[in-house]
Amino acid sequence: MSEFADQLLVLVMLINFLVLGSSRMAIAIRAVAVQGVVLGMLPAIIHSFSWHLVAIVIGMILAKGVFIPWLLFGAMHKVQIKREVEPFIGYVSTLLIGAITTALAFVFAAKLPLAPEHQGLLLVPASIATTITGFLTLTTRRKAISQVIGYLILENGIFIFGLLLTSAMPVMVEAGALLDLLVGIFVMGIVINHISNEFSSIDTSRLTALKE
């Protein structure tokens, strides 16, 4: 089944490009939701059945596919965010940077001293590429909500690497990752609300009162 897993990982990387290249906030949020669901399905495909696994899969899909997009859309409507993403650098340039880093991720992953059973899997390059995409989104987008999206992609990238370990790691760390994500977004959402009340916009580039 690992071939099917590879196809899904390709989909994950395509979603990275979609987020980098799309100008509409709603597309980005939906894309991240789809990415979360795809990632949630991955453990079920690459590992054999166990109740622990079922819990992870259901938890992931509910959290990343339903709950977080719902929160983000809620924030978007409540604060009446404009639909445009408003990046610091243009879409084409971020897209190109994303493509180049993805290519480099493949080169880099081929050089890593992986365990023999993980050699040639798409997991490692996908993880690196997704993490970098998350960083890129986080740093090149002006709006608070886009930065949250970037953070989500970053977390997704880390989760992909975690898939190499799911059979060997206790459930607690995974739960912790999920929990942190949930609560983090939650707190961020509240902060976004307050940002909108105080500034009547959630453009973080306006947050410049504090600097040297």
Partner: protein
């Protein structure tokens, strides 16, 4: 020998039919009856019979443009296998020739446009050149991926090597190629969402604006050349998207013709449901296509 004959006949006579099918699909979407399927043939016949007017300020380049473009496209059509049948001409490295025959045609179209000295045509030439620059890498990434998959540098083995079973082995990479090539197919043939072949506003045109000064037979060559180009790139695309092979030569021809008509319907649907993109967004989409095909190559090379 029959295959070659069928190949030549199809290449010469089928392309305008594709335009007719596209027009009919769009008409159906708009709730109209639409022009008959054979309308493009009538148009061509009418144009051929007309006389030509050439501006005094133009040189031989202007006259050569349509002819060279058509000739280049027809030669490219000889290089491409149709369906599961080998192409009439095939040699190692013909994929580069294939790509550059289109470039040659484009070069002559744009220089002919510049030769008129009209500002509109110059604008069209500039746009055409820009977008071609962005579309070309996609074509090359696709060719490289395919040659890697088949281990060959010639179009015929490269494209006939594609099978349904390959889709199960390298499905992700092939989906990416299909996505990238479909965008290039639309862009190269000046279809919506890149260019509107039926627009009447010069400022928004890309391809049409370059051929405003051509008339009569020269214009017929241009329209015919465009149709052949659509046919050739469409055939290329069909190889990747629908590599269906029955084994029976005659049945294969039927499959090929049907899939080409299906492609024309698909293009008509896309044209009906999409609006033309803003000019600024076109490079974005072309870069996306390029990334798709590059990513596909990455997956294959890995």
């Amino acid at each position: 020998m029959t295959d070659i004959l069928i190949h030549l006949l199809l290449t010469i006579f089928m392309p305008p039919l594709l335009l007719g099918v596209i027009g009919k699909t769009k008409a159906a979407f708009a709730g109209r009856v639409g022009a008959p399927f054979l309308q493009p043939y009538y148009d061509l016949a009418k144009l051929i019979r007309k006389g030509s007017v050439f501006s005094d300020t133009t040189t031989w380049i202007f006259r050569a443009g349509p002819i060279v473009t058509l000739a280049a496209t027809l030669v490219a059509a000889l290089l491409i296998p149709l369906g599961s049948h080998n192409s009439p001409v095939s040699f190692a490295g013909d994929m580069v020739l294939f790509a550059y025959l289109f470039a040659l045609g484009r070069f002559f179209t744009t220089t002919a446009a510049l030769d008129t000295g009209s500002s509109f045509e110059g604008m069209g030439a500039a746009r055409e050149a820009t977008f071609a620059c962005l579309a070309e890498p996609t074509l090359f990434f696709t060719l490289m991926t395919l040659s890697r998959l088949s281990g060959s540098l010639s179009l015929t083995p490269m494209l006939t090597n594609l099978t349904v079973s390959l889709w199960f082995r390298a499905g992700a990479a092939l989906i990416l190629l299909v996505g990238g090539m479909f965008i290039v197919l639309l862009a190269e043939n000046c279809r919506i969402p890149f260019d509107d072949p039926t627009t009447h506003l010069e400022l928004t045109m890309i391809h049409e604006v370059m051929v405003l000064d051509h008339s009569g037979p020269a214009f017929a060559y241009i329209l015919y050349g465009a149709a052949v180009k659509l046919f050739v790139i469409g055939a290329f695309f069909i190889h990747i998207a629908l590599p269906i092979k029955t084994g029976n030569p005659l049945l294969d021809w039927g499959v090929f013709i049907l899939s080409m008509l299906g492609l024309a319907v698909a293009i008509g649907v896309v044209e009906s449901i999409m609006a033309r993109l803003r000019l600024l967004r076109i490079p974005q989409l072309l870069v996306a296509a390029c990334i798709l095909s590059a990513f596909s190559m990455l997956l294959i090379l890995r």
